[in-house]
Amino acid sequence: MDARQFRKEALILKCIRHPGIPVVYDLEEDEDFCYLIEEFLEGDSLYALVSDMGHFSKAMTVRYGIQICHLVNILHSAKPTPILYLDLQPRNLLVCGNIVKLVDFDHAIHLDEAEYLTKSYGTVGCAAPEQYTGEDLNERTDIYAIGAVLYYMLTGKYPEKKPVYPRALIDRKLAKVIHTCLKEDPKERYDSAYQLGGELECIEEQMVKNREGAFGEDPGSSLTVAVAGAFPGAGATHIAISFAAYLWRRGISALYEEKNGSDAVRQMADCTGSGMDRYGVYRIHGLPMLPFYGDAAKLEPHPYHVVVRDCGTSMLNFSQEPADGYLLVCGSKPWQWKNTRDAVQFLGNLPGMAVIYNQFCGRLAVRLPGPAGEAECFLMPDSPNPFVHPKAVKQVYDEVFFSLAGRRPGGILQTCLAKIRRFLSRKA
């Protein structure tokens, strides 16, 4: 990149102020090099997350898609001249916390410069057809790239000439939106990122109604779920990680928090070579995980909305933990019944408690010890990898989440139901 281009990038960044776009502090030059001093961003690129965790869920794709549209719309609405980004691709989108940030403005130009461009750059798989043919570039060039990124998030692949939409991953409405973005003729694509964002918001609303989305999570509220095992080896850590990963995959800003002395997070971080951020959080296979720190550690409060707190096997600590919901992980094998029964009896009628019978095997579990009071029971099938959820496991977590979220006054589900009721009453 030459110095002129470098200065141009700095000038473009300097005229935009948005939390999703890095702040430029300074531009320095010496005889050999130019230096752009930018805000330090901690996070993983969409590319790294998909490589690490596999493709995203529909809810997560829609949620991030809305944020990307918003960012691109900010650029396209820049005054006095709109800015075209022209290299939107998964490596240039960072997920920090649960917020998408756009980086690397190498190829960004002002709209009025587009017609004088002699060479066009882009990323294979995400670049619009007009970037290859040298035709005029405009806002719709970025719309194509948004479609390509949406497709990538959903399938883990870049779109081909005739993209295939796997039925299991995508619904018709979302496929139609992506299809419109990826039209070869720019005029057939959406007019603006604002319009595209609106379409995605409609899909998200529909998902809320169908109880399959991110539930329009209210950023002002937070939800803490305490998890404990009825006995060592019951699988509390496995379930807590798995449940946090499930929430994260649904597009919910979820964190696994270790509140026991197992040191599991640090051991996993050492194995995977993950480093911690300023909140003390490690990202392991894309999932934010907070190890157990002592009182001496002074870290910034984390920004996550839903916390899955792994309380180990101390029933006393578990029952005293301030949380919105409690998950007791029990064994379902006959030789684990006594421990399970003791734990359930000890906890009695802990409000908001649900019981998970882990590694449930129908043939062995002849008689399940019934929990006390009104605690709900869930039968969790065996799943070796806590970061990946087979269909049967996902179904159980769907039920667990709706049970927990619905139970809390003002909880995420209840907030959404209230919103839907208000909407319906307005319609009436």
């Binding site: 002592g294 001496a296 550690a297 002074k298 910034e300």
Partner: protein, 203 residues
Amino acid sequence: MFGKNKKIFEQKGIGRNWRTLGIIGAGRGTGVTHFAVWAANYLTGVRRGKTAVLEWNRHGDFMHMAGFCGSIGKEMPYKILEADYYVQAGAKELAECLNGNYRYIIVDYGEITGQGFTDCARCDLKVIVGSLSEWRAEAFLKVVREGEKRDKSWKYAAVFGSEETRESIEKSYRIPVWRIPCAKDAFSITYADMIFLKELLGD
């Protein structure tokens, strides 16, 4: 740099559960006790390893600290924020720690003396804390000059003094001199402290 440190601390500890960290000062008032307490709080609070801190000098700082924290007259070693402090420790206390279930044993040797230095050399990782202030740098330089053949388990570190002096020592003697960040509270480990201590101590 971190990779090498990690290797030293791990290799020295093969076959046993504990690691020893010796801290010794090139002169008086260089911040050895502050560093020992700070490191102990990092190892307990962040690395979650059971840690003992042994006062291997006659300054009496640990007794003053016990008085301040209301631990006088209580069972010894006394505990502050999960770390155990051994006042005026000797061979008996060290043996007790080695046979106990500690993961980290930090020994505060105070300022350099003949025997203290020899004892410190037996630790897995040794940190020589000096001051680079013009009126104190000579003591630090003397230690650096005498130890040109020391292996990488010896670390040189300083809180005070100019950056120019530090860089000049690094250049002249081809050794890294770590700049210890000025931590006002030895019982509080911030994110910046964690980054520094992870680099210095490894493991």
